[in-house]
């Protein structure tokens, strides 16, 4: 909200001495951070961030009042000449509880009218231009200065008496912004015999608007139920200066005052003569007394504040306070709709004292600490393992396009579709992470990355009759060309088996898919990945201190023979021998081999609980070779 420093100082002259920087700090310390300061024609203009609960601060007077309470100073008196009320010149009937109070006055304007230059500058500095219509400009000025919205009707355009009521089904109104709006039975309107002439607390109607030809005005200074105004503003997408204030709770005691101030301005600016002033209804009761105990005060404050100190501060805010040594009872002022609980009162006390003064203490330890959940730890373990294997963790949006989803998801997108997505391409809660990772991989390849290694751990969504179920999921993509970055690793396109190997390193299995552009991709549910052992270190397994014997077998094998088959066969053939490891240490697919074959260099390491004899190892290797031959592997010549 924009506030003119000049106008703020008029309400609280004592702050004229305060530097702008200190004043900004002071306002922020009350809970209203300053988003910026601009130099306006009318002096500096502060952009103040008012929290949603404080409609009462949405004016110069309102903020000045909070500052005055903080500083223990007095506000300037409001120069007011109260109108003498008499009989209604136009009947006003309040048919809805949502409008308990309606103050009005009828004035006849003089031949000339002009809005003072000062006021024009004031309005301009707040981003609101003067219309050179006294009634409109004065109402606008009052709203910014005192926070109470008012309205003026062209009295000669009214047909019959005024009724404040809910709209009838099918009723329409054209508002001042020339938009025709369809009203509902929940919309509160001001009506005359012709129908709705204003939307209560939001905006006046076009049919009764004040213009250059207006001779007589009927003023409206009322109070509307905040909930009703908020709902109307939202329903019609019509958020106005008035709806912001009525919607957050206006001060009912301001209704008459604002009318009187408005009338006084019309007398001064437009030579207006009062025809009559009257009020229908009663001020609604606001601010039930709240009981605050010393215990609660001191528990929240964290220090032995006295009830007397609290009472003093609450009194400065306008609360009517009664106190004894152990508790106080405070009746909030009519402008503080937000004060309903004892906790609210403590917040006010702390706010006026300054949050800086709150002590800083670690809380006592109540409950026992708990370990991190296994599922959480597993996710982190997997992420660290993959990062150490050279993969980059990604974060992608949880929704994708229906097409991208359909390509990978295992359930129908029905039940996972958003009703109000940001756009079609973000409309389905993804059933798989792969569309997102594919997209990220393609981005990197397009950017010239020669190798892309990405993974993500996130929930995937799966349709059920009760709504989407979430499964923690791991997806990995590997694309481009791998190796060749140092003299020891050779370069080549990423092979699906390599990704299978990465998965195997996690103890998992999954079907590797080759996507367009040679992107290798795999996805597994986290529940399908064995959890890391619960022990901090594994159970001890004995090992031999006798020397090991290493033998290499150079084999020519058919290209379609999987290593795992050969390994199983050899292991079976040498069951009972102290074979410790069997690995493939080299693969050769170059020249000099029969068509359809490759060469493997197998290394067998034997180690037993005694020193092994060369002859016995020879015999084991011979049986290993024999079993390899049964799979069409031959000793390389």
């Amino acid at each position: 909200m924009l506030l003119s420093l000049n106008a703020l100082q008029q309400e609280l002259p004592a702050i004229a001495e305060t530097s702008l920087k200190d004043l900004c700090e002071l306002i922020a310390s009350l809970g209203f951070p300053i988003d910026g300061v601009e130099q306006g024609e009318h002096g500096p203009v502060l952009d103040v961030d008012i929290t949603a609960n404080r409609g009462d601060v949405m004016s110069h007077r309102g903020l000045a009042r909070d500052l005055a309470a903080k500083l223990g100073l007095d506000l300037s008196p409001v120069e007011l000449d109260p109108l003498e009320e008499g009989d209604a010149l136009v009947s006003v009937r309040l048919e809805a509880d949502a409008c308990p109070l309606y103050s009005t006055a009828m004035l006849t304007l003089g031949a000339l009218q002009s809005t003072p230059e000062e006021v024009k500058k004031f309005l301009a500095s707040l981003g609101s231009s003067a219309k050179d219509l006294a009634a409109v400009d004065a109402s606008n000025e009052l709203l910014h200065r005192y926070g109470h919205p008012t309205h003026a009707f062209d009295a000669d355009k009214l047909q019959g008496g005024i009724v404040v009521r809910y709209a009838k089904a099918g009723e329409k109104i054209t508002t001042l912004d020339s938009v025709e709006r369809n009203l509902t039975e929940k919309d509160l309107v001001i009506a005359d015999d012709s129908g709705a002439i204003a939307m209560a607390g939001l905006m006046g109607g076009d049919s009764t608007k004040v213009d250059m030809d207006t001779r007589r005005v009927l003023l409206e200074s009322a109070w509307f139920e905040p909930r009703v105004v908020r709902a109307m503003a939202r329903r019609h997408g019509l958020h106005t200066d008035a709806s912001h204030r009525f919607g957050r709770g206006a001060d009912p005691s301001m209704a008459r005052i604002a009318r009187d101030l408005l009338a006084a301005r019309l007398k001064n600016w437009a030579w207006a003569a009062l025809d009559g002033a009257w009020t229908e209804g009663q001020e609604p009761a606001i601010g039930k007394p709240i009981n605050l105990t010393k215990d609660l005060l001191q528990r929240i404050a964290g220090e032995p504040l006295s009830i007397e100190d609290a009472a003093l501060l609450l009194n400065r805010l306008g609360c009517v306070v009664e106190e004894n040594t152990s508790s106080l009872q405070a009746a909030p002022p009519t402008w503080r709709h937000d004060l309903t609980l004892p906790e609210d009162l403590v917040e006010e006390v702390l706010r006026l004292r300054g949050y800086d003064l709150i002590p800083s203490v670690l809380p006592p330890v109540g409950s026992d600490p708990e370990p991190l959940a296994a599922e959480y730890q597993q996710r982190h373990g997997i992420a660290r393992r993959l990062a150490s294997l050279g993969f980059y963790q990604t974060v992608t949006l949880g929704f994708v396009s229906p097409e991208a989803d359909a390509e990978f998801a295992d359930t129908s997108a029905e039940g996972r579709t958003l009703g109000n997505p940001l756009g079609y391409e973000f409309s389905v809660l993804r059933g798989s992470l792969l569309p997102s990772l594919q997209h990220a991989a393609e981005h990197n390849l397009r950017q010239g990355a020669r190798e892309v290694r990405l993974f993500e751990i996130a929930p995937t969504f799966h349709s059920t009759s009760n709504g989407p179920e979430e499964h923690s999921t791991l997806s990995i993509v590997w694309a481009g060309e791998t190796g060749g970055l140092d003299p020891m690793t050779s370069r080549g396109p990423v092979h699906p088996a390599a990704l299978q190997g990465v998965l195997a390193a996690l103890g998992a299995q999954g079907e590797v898919r080759t996507l367009e552009g040679g992107i290798q991709a795999v996805e597994v549910a986290l529940t399908d990945i064995p959890a890391s052992p619960e022990r901090v270190i594994p159970t001890f397994k004995g090992f031999s201190r006798f020397p090991s014997v290493e033998r290499d077998l150079s084999l020519v094998v058919p290209l379609d023979l999987p290593f795992a088959h050969l390994k199983t066969a050899i292991q079976a053939a040498v069951t009972g021998t102290p074979l410790q490891t069997l690995t493939c240490v080299d693969i050769y697919r170059g020249k000099g081999l029969p068509e359809g074959h490759q060469a493997w260099l197998l290394r067998l390491i034997f180690q037993g609980d005694r020193t092994l004899m060369g002859e016995e190892v020879d015999a084991w290797v011979a049986s290993a070779l024999e079993s390899a031959r049964s799979l069409k592997a031959e000793l390389r010549g």
């Binding site: 929240i300 906790e343 409950s367 026992d368 949006l397 290694r453």
Partner: protein, 363 residues
């Protein structure tokens, strides 16, 4: 080399004289040990070499010439042997150099290291926060991303007509209009409070952190994303006040940003806390002296917090007369951008490996 006298040389066959003359140049053209060995065989080998033929010639020479010729032959033989030995040692040294160069690893070559990878910076920051709060006994609680209005709004004392509930701010599911994408991690509070309410007296309190993904209907731009991350924290105990919140967060900021990190509280408003506050921390970039990031103030806003609203406890079935507590919530992207001075939020979701490599790490 001592030249045999001409008189004696004349006693030798012509080819020998020529071999004598050629030795020096032949020796100098030997650039490998193999070549040298061949030359050695030709001149001083056991059989058929020049020196063995000289010895044969000496044996056959007339007696009066034997003495002179013997001196010449021995001189030549020794000259050749010495010269070959010197050359051999030179070549051996050279070969040793070459061999050691062949075996040596050039340390300036890239080492055969495994490829580099990294955790995502947002995950790293969330992990750091968990690390910061672990010593205080906080564990991690998580909840679903698809939530009910009850958990996301009702349980948090958010009024029926609060604008955040509207379809302009919150994503709702098409086929299940009662379900939405959680707009903050606070529904985890509601779930945990409800779950633990019956055994709260036995447990003695609640402490946890809830990191996670949240969704709001914002268009993607340099400072907005429809999905982002929050870390929520909560403590419930007896006699908990604002001073405990301040003490906890002051500790956390020092643990996160270093011992110089001071904090300050400002009043603020959130429906699920009372009193509410926002916390600023000494600008982690300039340490409080003022810079571009803190707009010269020396302070940056880091999180929102407050004491748990009695209504939130009441809705969860916890008596606010007995129990009290605090809650705080931090926007992960906002903090990450501030600390790293990353100019555009979209970089965190683009997943460009160059960004991930610079911003990520293995811990």
């Amino acid at each position: 080399m001592t030249q045999p006298d001409a008189n004696a040389l004349s006693l030798l066959p012509t080819e020998m004289v020529e071999a004598c003359d050629d030795f020096s140049s032949a020796l100098s053209t030997c650039s490998t040990l193999d070549e040298l060995n061949r030359l050695k065989g030709i001149y001083i080998g056991r059989e058929g070499s020049f020196s063995s033929r000289l010895m044969d010639a000496l044996k056959k020479a007339p007696k009066e010439q034997k003495r002179n010729l013997g001196a010449v032959v021995n001189g030549l033989k020794k000259t050749w042997e010495d010269a070959i030995k010197v050359r051999q040692s030179e070549l051996e040294t050279a070969k040793q150099h070459l061999d050691s160069a062949k075996n040596a690893w050039d340390a300036t070559l890239p080492p055969p290291t495994p490829p580099t990878g990294a955790l995502h910076p947002l995950n790293r920051l969330m992990d750091r926060l968990v690390d910061v709060f672990r010593p205080l006994g906080y564990h991690v609680e998580e909840g679903p991303e698809v939530e009910t209005e009850e958990h996301n709004f009702d349980g948090l004392n958010i009024p029926e007509d609060h604008p955040a509930r509207g379809t302009a701010d919150t994503f709702y599911l098409a086929q299940h209009s009662e379900l939405l994408l959680r707009t903050h991690t606070s529904p985890v509070q509601v779930r945990v409070l409800k779950r633990l309410a019956p055994e709260l007296e036995k447990k003695g309190g609640i402490r946890f952190l809830a990191p996670g993904r949240v969704y709001r209907k914002d268009e993607i731009d340099p400072t907005h994303s429809p999905m982002f991350h929050q870390v929520e924290g909560m403590l419930v105990g007896k006699g908990i006040g604002m001073h405990h919140l301040k003490g906890t967060l002051a500790y956390a900021m020092k643990a996160l940003f270093g011992p110089e990190a001071d904090v300050r509280f400002r009043p603020s408003y959130f429906p699920f806390v009372e009193p509410g506050c926002e916390m600023d921390v000494h600008c982690p970039l300039c340490g409080g002296s003022g810079c571009r990031v803190c707009k010269g103030s020396g302070w940056v806003e880091i999180l929102g917090a407050g004491l748990i609203h009695p209504n939130v406890l009441r809705i969860a079935g916890i008596d606010p007369e007995i129990w009290s507590g605090f809650a705080f919530g931090m926007g992960v992207e906002r903090t990450a951008m501030m600390v790293s001075q990353t100019p555009d939020l979209r970089l965190f979701f683009e997943n460009d490996q160059r960004f991930l490599q610079v911003m990520g790490g293995l811990d």
